[in-house]
């Protein structure tokens, strides 16, 4: 998967036509073959852009910054990134007419060790669902998307794609309660409360996070195990039904916490009980907590 040339051409063309003010892409970090995001405003810098299977980060996150807000932006999105972009559009955080989206038919990205990332091996929507221009061969399953989120037959993603429970969730759910308790106590103990997970998440766009509010939260920025529990639980519940599994939070976490466990757990519960998954595949779908069904399970309530 190497779209470096195409992306450079597209960016140069967009700058020449005056369609964009800034282009968000990836560049080499200058030390090794790993990549970092780059915001390009000068057409001469277009040659810096690259795209390979090391392009791991979710660039939709950069639509939150002042460098891109109220500007015309070109950006590169993979399948998972495009779903978060779809959610940001639905939640009125960005305007579609200000964006020029280069969609990628993603074949999976690799981590530092060269292994394919876990979310990519489980990925069921590898192609971008929102785009102005699509690079690569569309449709691993041959469904052929038209950019509206629905495939050629008009069905949405949740119908066409089967759901499999994440392997880590399945393994942990079988363990007895005390083992799970001990496991997660270690996880929360290792959290240093840097809030990188929150800042790296494209869907955490609030100007003032509730965790930072001095009177509303219990902890006021303390760095303890219980404060980490408080912050991470709140964070994962705010993302329940919206998380697109791009794993930007895990890539950003300096303590390498298995943050995907919290999101995948919520996702599996939502799928098993409300038959919904793949947030952001359908346009204008705001996630499981914004709707209800009379048939929702009631048996856990006395």
């Amino acid at each position: 998967m190497n779209y470096t040339k195409q992306i450079q051409d597209i960016a140069a063309k967009l700058f020449a036509e005056g369609k964009i003010d800034v282009f968000v892409g990836y560049r080499l970090n200058g030390f090794d073959d790993n990549q970092v995001p780059v915001l390009i405003t000068d057409p001469q810098d277009v040659c810096k852009l690259v795209f390979t299977d090391k392009s791991v980060f979710n660039l939709v996150n950069y639509l939150k910054t002042d460098h891109t807000r109220r500007k015309r932006v070109g950006l590169v999105v993979k399948g998972c990134d495009s779903r978060s972009l779809n959610l940001m559009l639905t939640e009125s955080q960005v305007k579609r007419e200000n964006l020029y989206v280069v969609g990628i038919c993603c074949e999976g990205v690799v981590d530092d060790a060269g292994q394919k990332m876990q979310n990519c091996t489980e990925c069921v929507v590898p192609d971008a669902v929102v785009y102005d221009e699509l690079l690569g061969t569309s449709g691993r399953d041959g469904s052929g998307r038209d950019g509206s989120g629905r495939d050629g037959s008009g069905r949405d993603g949740s119908q066409t794609h089967p759901y499999t429970v994440n392997v880590d969730i399945a393994a942990l759910a079988e363990k007895p309660l005390t083992e799970r308790t001990a496991y997660f106590e270690e996880v929360f103990e290792n959290c240093i409360r840097c809030n990188a997970c929150r800042h790296s998440c494209p869907l955490c766009y609030c100007a003032k996070c509730c965790i930072d509010q001095e009177t509303a939260t219990l902890y006021n920025g303390a760095n303890t195990t219980s404060a980490a529990f408080h912050a991470l639980m709140t964070w994962s519940l705010h993302l329940a039904g919206r998380c697109v599994d791009c794993r930007n939070c895990e890539k950003a976490c300096p303590s390498h916490l298995p943050l995907h466990l919290l999101h995948k757990q919520n996702e599996s519960v939502i799928y098993e009980n409300f038959q919904e998954h793949l947030a952001g595949v359908i346009p204008d779908d705001r996630g499981a907590f914004y709707k209800y069904s009379l048939k929702d399970p009631d048996d856990f309530i006395m």
């Binding site: 005390t178 308790t181 519960v269």
Partner: protein, 162 residues
Amino acid sequence: METEVKDQLVSIEKPELVAPPNWEPVIMGILCNWCSYAGSDLTGTSRIQYPPNIRIIRVPCSSRVDPWFLIKSLQTTADGVLVSGCHPGDCHYITGNYFARRRFLVTKKLLNFVGFHENRIQFSWVSAAEGPKFAKVVNKVTEDIKKLGPLHLYKKENFDKK
């Protein structure tokens, strides 16, 4: 009380921690204004006894209950939480409890996943006419949580004193 003569009551999540003698659980009861709060009022005016372990908070609707409330309760004094609202279809705000129901399930499963016993977080539908049912619910929740022992997970004071 039979629980006191038992040899030792331990916290179910942390079996190495023993409850102090004569330990009584604290239960946070979050009740909706229109049904469950009126139901608990009826329990009192009908002179039906229920355990005093429950501390009641009144909210306008069960959909007002942010999952954050449950996390905060469990991290401070509570050993368990009971959230109660109108029966499905009876919500004063028409659909509030349908939205709440989804959030409750996900919150309960997530807290169970990270190590809380599932009986620590309980939900019920109690209408304004169901005084005896409210007493029954509180009795059951109190009994359940007495079996689980005190909650020692992620408590605010345990860590902040360090």
